[in-house]
Symmetry: C2
Subunit: 330 residues, 2 copies
Amino acid sequence: MIALDVMGGDRAPAATITGAIRWARSTGSKPILVGNLTIIHQLLDHGGEDPAAWTSVSAPVTVGMDAQPVKAIRSLPDASIRRCAELVKSGQAQALVSMGNTGAALAAGVIVVGRATGVERPGLAALLPGGPKPTLLIDVGANVEARPEHLRDFGLMGAIYQQQTFGIVEPRVGILSNGEEITKGNPLVRDAAVLLTESPLAFIGHVEPAVLYGDTADVIVCDGFTGNLVLKSLEATAEFAFDEVRKGVRRHPYTLPGLALLYPALRSVRQSTDYAQYGGVPLLGVNGVVIIGHGRSNAVAVVNALNVAANGIRSNLVNRIAEGLTTIRR
Amino acid sequence: MIALDVMGGDRAPAATITGAIRWARSTGSKPILVGNLTIIHQLLDHGGEDPAAWTSVSAPVTVGMDAQPVKAIRSLPDASIRRCAELVKSGQAQALVSMGNTGAALAAGVIVVGRATGVERPGLAALLPGGPKPTLLIDVGANVEARPEHLRDFGLMGAIYQQQTFGIVEPRVGILSNGEEITKGNPLVRDAAVLLTESPLAFIGHVEPAVLYGDTADVIVCDGFTGNLVLKSLEATAEFAFDEVRKGVRRHPYTLPGLALLYPALRSVRQSTDYAQYGGVPLLGVNGVVIIGHGRSNAVAVVNALNVAANGIRSNLVNRIAEGLTTIRR
């Protein structure tokens, strides 16, 4: 079962309920709807569904986008994201999906759902669609600090995710650095590279950010501070590029017909950093499948996130990561 | 006097000599040309100049783009970039300009030219032209590790550079972080933020990468590992955006006329991360003006770099930084 945080996200609850209904109709399974029951029942009814046929759990409080995550999770027992995490913790659900405050979902995953066996540090993974196959960047913000063995573990968790989700048989794992030579990198990078070389992973060494757009690596590891800044840098540039071209068009309206044809290219620029395109960002290494969607998610994105979560349950992601980490430590 | 590394750069020595000649004709001053004397004399002659009217210094060895920087500087006494640095060290020149291997220029600056009085760690500054005025990001690679006081000093050196170069009276200094709240950031960021708050600088707190494109900060400080990765992330995305739109045009040739009109927008996207647009990247905190241009620099970029170097000498940049650091430490 998947617990869906109905209240999280800029377009919630309308987009989350619409997504849930569509997903239920196409797959035959229903997520557990967690949020304000009155709203949930109204929207189900409005969508042509019988509320009695769905499982809903009352959680009338929404964690705002500006809330301080850890504090919110600890102090708000009725918050929808916390209730989702409790359902996973208690085994009533095996996965949770939230489009709300990323920090709060992260905190709920780490604090409430808890770490999987053998995992010291869960990692937040972003899937970057710039290349022919998505490149997984981990960690993009679960830990502002990390030790070398955490980066090695991120590599393993990311590789298992890429195997299970995209069928990449032997994912190539690189470590993000300020140069390709092994002499480059800060001490964390250099020490982690040694551990990755000794690991059974297909380690390809130091890689630079340009690799995020190519077909060189399937998994790229870094600490959460660096990963978060790199991800936000990609987003900022893509947004700037999109805006500049749009402004150029506004200055020269005669370019509009041409622009219609360029639209796929422009969209691809914007999507190149839209890590939520694959349904959301998985939090790897916790004791359940946790998928965090983008705050801007519409109903289609909600359907994608539910599919990713269902796939995580089906492929037994949590146990495979725990097994993998036990093996790598032997 | 400015020592110009004639041999460094993808288009050297033709672009460097052409740039030197143009700059000499427009300003009436001549840089010291450092490199292979036969080539220098031939190219001056070819450009309609009398070689006897120029000061040239023999340095027949070029540090390749792939060379290991520190090793190259230490082991190649005849390397043009090392000779330039020695001219600054000995006082025969007050500035050096190189379009060659960035790492080698950096090493020559730190090892040969040496740190300015009061400076513990020189910082490499990139000027990002995305916003209405350039935003200075420091450090983008001089130090893979830094302590909080180094980040504070980068803020001061960057602010003085922005004052002297772009006339920004009270530069706003931010610290790059994974969120705007003061609780965000790794320990380095949090400790440096305390020092910046206590400093006389106009400190605006934690900033995220989107600020690199806006008009929120004039100087953004970070450690050299993070800054290097952020800079390379911006470049990779801008390059990707440019390529995607170009591919879109190739698929639909009828968009070509429209594209001609969109060209300024596309160019601005590409230039948004072209930190060499302002003539090069200054290495701040060394005992002379060191300007490192992009390897791709053409003659126009060489002229710009020479102008930036001349401005650095004229505005007494080195002493102002030393004075500023002495004051801030009091």
